[in-house]
Amino acid sequence: MKIEIKRYIDEGEVHEERLGYEVDLEGATLLEMLTEIKTKQDATLSFASGCRSSVCGSCAMRVNGKEVLACAYKPQEGDVVEPLKNMPVIRDLVVDMQKALDFTKVAKAWAGESDAAVALSEEDAAVNELQSDCILCGSCYSACPVYEVNGEFIGPFALTRSWRYVSDKRESDVAGKIEAVQTNGIWDCTLCGECVPVCPQGIAPKSDIDMLRNKSGILGYMDPKFVGGFGGGLDFGAPSF
């Protein structure tokens, strides 16, 4: 089977090309194929991998334009393999995730002062069970078209993580977390849903963003675009929003 891999290296000068590799492995995952290429054919091929079982998130990449985990994808003849989008490529299939990861800090995606007196029921635990399955692979971030216009967008996984903590019944700083996702956050999402089918864990960041919007509405926040939508046609004399 032949697959093509987009190669990139910057060693003083940038070198970029698509190289084909012939691999003969029956029923193998893409990660097994890449490992075969690296150890038997071309030691310079660079990619990240870890658990081989879809929980560490290391081997997210794109095949024929769609995000996959290499350890969970069975290649087809002629597949084209590329690194994730929206992140700087360090080399070959390896991207720099630091900026993307830092958005969880912007979103304050962590447990605040949790109230130990609140006992969680099975139902309470189920509320964010799916969101806490996130493995930080970056697939949703790569698939998100908002980054073409706004590089500071907090982004799908960081917002999913925000909802994961906001929806925890024990969380005592919901207001602070909601405030943190107002700018470059929930309202900048176009709800296109590109993040949904690429999540290897079946999480729908789009729905989580919708939930955060609802929560924001309850707390008195409004979509700034909607506010602007009045277009100044009616001036009630109030100071600008």
Partner: protein
């Protein structure tokens, strides 16, 4: 952490000024717990990791974390089970600390947002794992490790812990003060992105780099990064390693890929069947005995399967979703309707950097926690659910003590020798001749270890492995990375990892040859009995002038 803060800290580092009080090496569960507790104790902290924090081996722990919080359970029972499983090789004091602190450890994890599964009575749900006399393992479906790890990461982000991601540890820096006392002074690491070797100075260092099961290569459940880099660096710096021959085999790895199928599948009532479709053993025995039973059955009838069909689709999808997904992907079978082919595979390394009751190693100022350390709580066989617990309890202890020790140290002495040496090595290794392919040798070591230094061992087989390892040590200069480029050279990283594995492989085999008895995971078919008179002791390994020394030290 904002990027400019990172750049600023890093700039100070490069100017050669005192950087952090406590440097944590390894960004998995143990490393993050240690960093959080060192920071809480007032120290400045940074974590150095060869990957990103959430990509560590901890993400793969599935079954749960033990804590005697159930009504039918007690701390005393937890202690008794752990001691029994250790086959006389655990420290009673350490086990008592592990089990006592376990209750608070789980409460703390709950408070930082670990989404434990719940019971109808709004309590943390628990399941029974092998070797446990009660229902004891707290879990979050079969993603316990993943959810613990991510909650720790989110907490580190909250606390502003500095991470140096994609830095590959090379060596520890040793320094000698005016009185001639040798202490640790930081570490050197390869910045994988840039290819530069850098020095990280610190008053104390915590090693939390995980285990060394990848020596078994494709016969291990472990992530590709579990190559024992921290242990190898520690012994090079003068630390001692202990009980290195004890490698736990997990009874149920997928047959072809060695991907782990959690013990929770058996805990929930899964059966083991032989080629004739018959049950042949008690599925909830401790892992050492069960792995041997399976290995013997595979020798006898050819195949062994895990059968969870009777648990039903709804249960499997709710409690064991990961298992179903992995069996489909890697073995092409759906466990709801089909048998899953399995074999025992290398899973957890009980041996590690020898530490005292304060998590301190033989090198002053160097602490260790997690799978890379040996706190003498697992002994010859670890109980399922005790590894996640260990990294919380002893990660915390290492963090506190490293912070305390650092507080009494005024400054780190300037000593650029190690940095220069390691810079030269990284330059020079690219000129190794490459006549021999190290990937081939890595594969070979995995196979020979699985066959001769795995579930069952004997003197002749082990000596054959030792011969092979010694030969490979001589051949190392004829290997080396083929990739000569600087940036993100994973071929170079893998070669140095290979060197570390070869170093540890020798120590493991020498330990296994020296231990002329059978105990827990170390089973010698030529000497099947346990011999407490001679070997009721820890195997201690260290280097003197480059020569490997091994001795038995009575239990402490």
């Amino acid at each position: 952490m904002p990027n400019n803060e990172f750049a600023k800290i890093h700039a100070t580092q490069l100017e050669g000024q005192m950087m952090v009080d406590v440097l944590v090496i390894g960004s998995g569960g143990a490393g993050m717990v240690a960093a959080l507790s060192a920071k809480e104790a007032g120290a400045t902290v940074a974590i150095l990791g060869k990957s990103y924090p959430t990509r560590s081996q901890t993400s793969m722990a599935q079954g749960g974390i033990n804590a005697a919080i159930g009504e039918e359970d007690s701390i005393e029972q937890h202690i008794a089970d752990t001691l029994k499983s250790s086959q006389g090789l655990a420290s009673e004091a350490a086990v008592e600390k592990l089990c006592r602190d376990g209750v608070e450890a789980v409460r703390w994890l709950d408070s930082i947002g670990v989404p434990f599964s719940r019971t109808e009575e709004k309590k943390i749900a628990q399941r029974r794992l092998g070797g446990a006399s009660a229902v004891r393992a707290c879990y979050a479906q079969d993603y316990t490790g993943l959810k613990v790890l991510h909650s720790l990461y989110d907490t580190c982000v909250k606390e502003g812990i500095t991470f140096y991601n994609e830095y590959f540890l090379l060596n520890l820096i040793r320094q000698t003060d005016e009185k001639g006392k040798v202490t640790v002074g930081g570490a050197t690491a390869l910045n994988i992105k840039t290819g530069e070797v850098e020095a990280f100075k610190a008053k104390t260092v915590i090693m939390a780099t995980g285990g060394y099961s990848r020596i078994y290569q494709k016969h291990s459940t472990n992530a590709t990064g579990s190559t024992g880099d921290g242990l190898a660096a520690a012994i090079r710096a003068g630390a001692k390693l202990s009980d290195m021959e004890f490698v736990q085999f997990h009874p149920t790895g997928l047959k072809n890929s060695s991907i782990l199928i959690s013990e929770s599948a058996r805990g929930a009532g899964g059966y083991l069947l032989n080629a004739k479709g018959e049950r042949f053993t008690d599925e909830l025995q401790p892992r050492d005995a069960l792995s041997r039973a399976i290995a013997e059955e595979i020798e006898k009838s050819g195949e062994v399967f895990l059968d969870i069909r009777h648990l039903g689709e709804a249960f499997i999808d709710h409690e064991l979703p990961q298992e179903r997904k992995l069996a489909k992907l890697y073995e092409n079978v759906d466990p709801v309707h089909e048998l899953v082919p399995i074999k025992p595979v290398a899973h957890y390394t009980m041996g590690g950097i020898a530490v005292d009751a304060d998590s301190q190693t033989a090198v002053s100022g160097l602490f260790a926690a997690g799978e890379c350390a040996n706190h003498n709580v697992h002994g010859a066989n670890r109980l399922g659910g005790n590894s996640l617990l260990e990294l919380i309890v002893f990660g915390r202890q290492a963090g506190e003590n490293a912070a305390k020790t650092a507080a009494a140290i005024e400054a780190v002495i300037e000593d650029p020798e190690q940095l220069k040496k390691d810079q030269n090595f990284v330059q020079g290794v690219k000129y190794f001749t490459n006549q021999i392919d190290f990937y081939e040798k890595r594969y070979f070591i995995g196979n020979i270890f699985y066959n001769n230094a795995g579930i069952k061992r004997n003197d002749m087989g082990l000596k054959a492995v030792l011969g092979a390892i010694r030969q490979i040590q001589k051949e190392l200069p004829f290997m080396g990375p083929k990739d000569k480029s600087k940036s993100y050279n994973t071929n170079l990283v893998e070669f140095i990892e290979f060197g570390n594995m070869v170093e540890l492989a020798e120590i493991m085999v020498v330990g296994a040859i020296s231990r002329n008895e059978s105990r827990g995971a170390h089973y010698r078919e030529d000497i099947p009995d346990r011999n407490d008179t001679v070997y009721g002791a820890h195997t201690i390994s260290w280097r003197e002038d480059g020569v490997l020394c091994v001795d038995f030290l009575n239990k402490f």
